[in-house]
Amino acid sequence: MKLKDQFRFVRQNMKKNRTRVSMTILATAMGCAFLIVLSSVGFGFQKSIVKDITERQVVTAIDVHGKQSMKQGFTPVTDKDIEAFEKMKNVKAVTRRMMLQQNTKYYLKDHQIDTQTIVADFPSEMKAGFKLSSGHLPKKPDEIVVGYDFATNLASKNAKPEELYDKRGVLKDQYRYTGELVGQKVELPVKQNENGKQIEKVFTFTITGIGVKPTKKWLEDRNAYISNDRLKEIEAFTGTPKGMLKEQNNPEPPGPKVEGVVYDEVKVYATNMEAVKNIDQQLKDKNYETYSVLNELKEVNLVFLVVKAGLIFIGTIAILIASIGIYNTMTMAVTERAPDIGIMKAIGANPKTIKRIFLLESSYIGLIGALIGTVVSYIISYTVNLALPLIIKNAFGENAPSNFTFSDIPVSLPLICIVICYVVTIISGLRPAQRATRVDVLKAMRREM
């Protein structure tokens, strides 16, 4: 029998019992929708968390904290190490930063800002992807680059401190600095305790460039970036590494003595994501302590793999329950049609063909159910993502985390569901189909079935 004709038989048979068949399809669709929606929560959370992690940090970056060895214990990353990192394969850049070890306050005319001063190696920063929105990089030691949000945080010196900020903690418009920034001079007083007295020296910088806006809304870059040469001048004044403050009555610089430059933040940038794993492994092999987002992602993804498998398993139970309905429907269909089956067998229909027709019918029910279930779950998922933040807001008076996906349905999920559903329906349709092939011709023709 031609497949086309088998399909026609199936459709005709299904039409004869429209209500029963559609109820079974409905049950299957509900099972599938349950599986997909349930698992979509796992997918959604994973997506949100992965997005959160990758947004916080560049995925190609590897943080190198230092070296841990049996002999020397922990040692920070040195210039020699950095040179070696730069020579490694697939390394795009190695950035190294130091923080000026004081609270730094910059003055621009009658405005001021409290911020952190970062000592950066500009060529490597540029290679790693540091970009300017205007101006150029410092060429001379007394030149400085400021972060994108430096200007918006420059507050008027004349206002009362409690009046400066609005309820959200944002500097009020009327106290902001509105003028041009590039080319302006800013002053940084550097302090030190000397013989029980506090002394101060003012360093003047010219702003040559402004960094680009951070890619994330909630990130703010108000830092000031100075060059290593300028740091040397500051160190010459303070007499301590990185401008560290001495204790009031102790002329010795605080902290343990270290040789050479100690960087606070060293990052190795790989040329692409695929290279990260390899570079990270090489560094670890050389006893460096490293951290990379990609490693964290690997662990997060592993946890979610287990979670998703669990959810899919629970969802499969719903489909199994629906399969009882399919079994029932198919058994009734076989019983009802036994006389017809008997006649067809008497004429010369092959039992295999009869079996195939019934299997086709049960898988038809399963597939239509799975498809309807898929469509429904996309609608549910969409609605949940839309409605849940509103519900949370109304019920608890709190904002749901922005950009959070509660339910995500990647293409693989409906495919998994359809495969599971198909297998389950075939299994549940197998026995009734087998029964159909065993219909006794003579009994059927005597209408004894």
Binding site: M1, K2, K4, D5, Q12, K16, D340, I343, M344, K345, A346, I347, G348, A349, N350, P351, K352, T353, V441, L442, M445
Partner: protein, 229 residues
């Protein structure tokens, strides 16, 4: 064309262990020649239907063998016999055995669908066959909307549509009045003469038995009259 050799058959009834064995056929030997009409007569319960069911492959003999077209069909399994039936055998039943949810047209078309014939060819053949049995007007009627005689013509059309060399009929006129019975017998004779179809007909009606070139009588599971082979 059909050879039945040393066939014996019995039925078991009741539960296993306490089953009673009912002997039905004892050492049956006969054959049907190509182009022949053979009729089998006998009293009710003599085993006629059982014999025909054995030849049709609906049941298998306990002993002996059956050959059709040189092939030992009693050895075929169910699937093989199904394929054999669709190619070689046409059936006419006393109670027509039409599928009630299919129209006359669809019932006649069914064997061609089973055979896997293309739709266009199938339609033409079915229409031609409907004309041949004089039911063109009734092609969209369901069996329930046809008279007994019309239903029997549909079932004959269904048997003829695959051009089988052999037609097996169990009490083909059993449900018909004498006038339609007459028509049917004429039609069978015509088919036998024009197309050379071999007929094996079971009946307890003398009128029907007389259209056979030969007649075998069955009594208590044995052949008591007719040519023994």
């Amino acid at each position: 064309m059909i050879t039945v050799k040393n066939v014996s058959h019995d039925f078991e009834i009741g539960k296993k262990g306490r089953a009673t064995i009912i002997p039905v056929l004892r050492d049956i030997n006969f054959s049907v020649n190509r182009g022949e009409i053979l009729t089998i007569v006998g009293r009710s319960g003599s085993g006629k239907s059982t014999l025909l069911n054995l030849i049709s492959g609906f049941i298998r003999p306990r002993e002996g063998g059956i050959w059709i077209n040189e092939e030992q069909v009693s050895k075929l399994n169910e699937a093989q016999f199904a394929d054999f039936r669709i190619k070689n055998l046409g059936f006419i039943f006393q109670s027509f055995q039409l599928i009630p949810s299919m129209t006359a047209f669809q019932n006649i078309e069914l064997p061609l669908i089973i055979k896997g014939m293309a739709e266009k060819e199938r339609r033409d053949k079915t229409e031609e066959m409907l004309k041949k049995v004089g039911l063109s007007e009734y092609q969209d009627h369901y069996p329930g909307e046809l008279s007994g005689g019309q239903q029997q013509r549909v079932s004959i059309a269904r048997a003829l549509i695959v051009n089988p060399p052999i037609i097996l009929a169990d009490e083909p006129t059993g449900s018909l009045d004498s006038e339609t019975e007459e028509d049917l017998l004429t039609f069978i004779k015509q088919l036998n003469q024009d197309l050379g179809i071999t007929f094996l007909i079971i009946t307890h009606d003398d009128k029907v038995a007389r259209i056979g070139h030969r007649t075998i009588e069955l009594s208590d599971g044995r052949i008591t009259e007719g040519e023994l082979v």
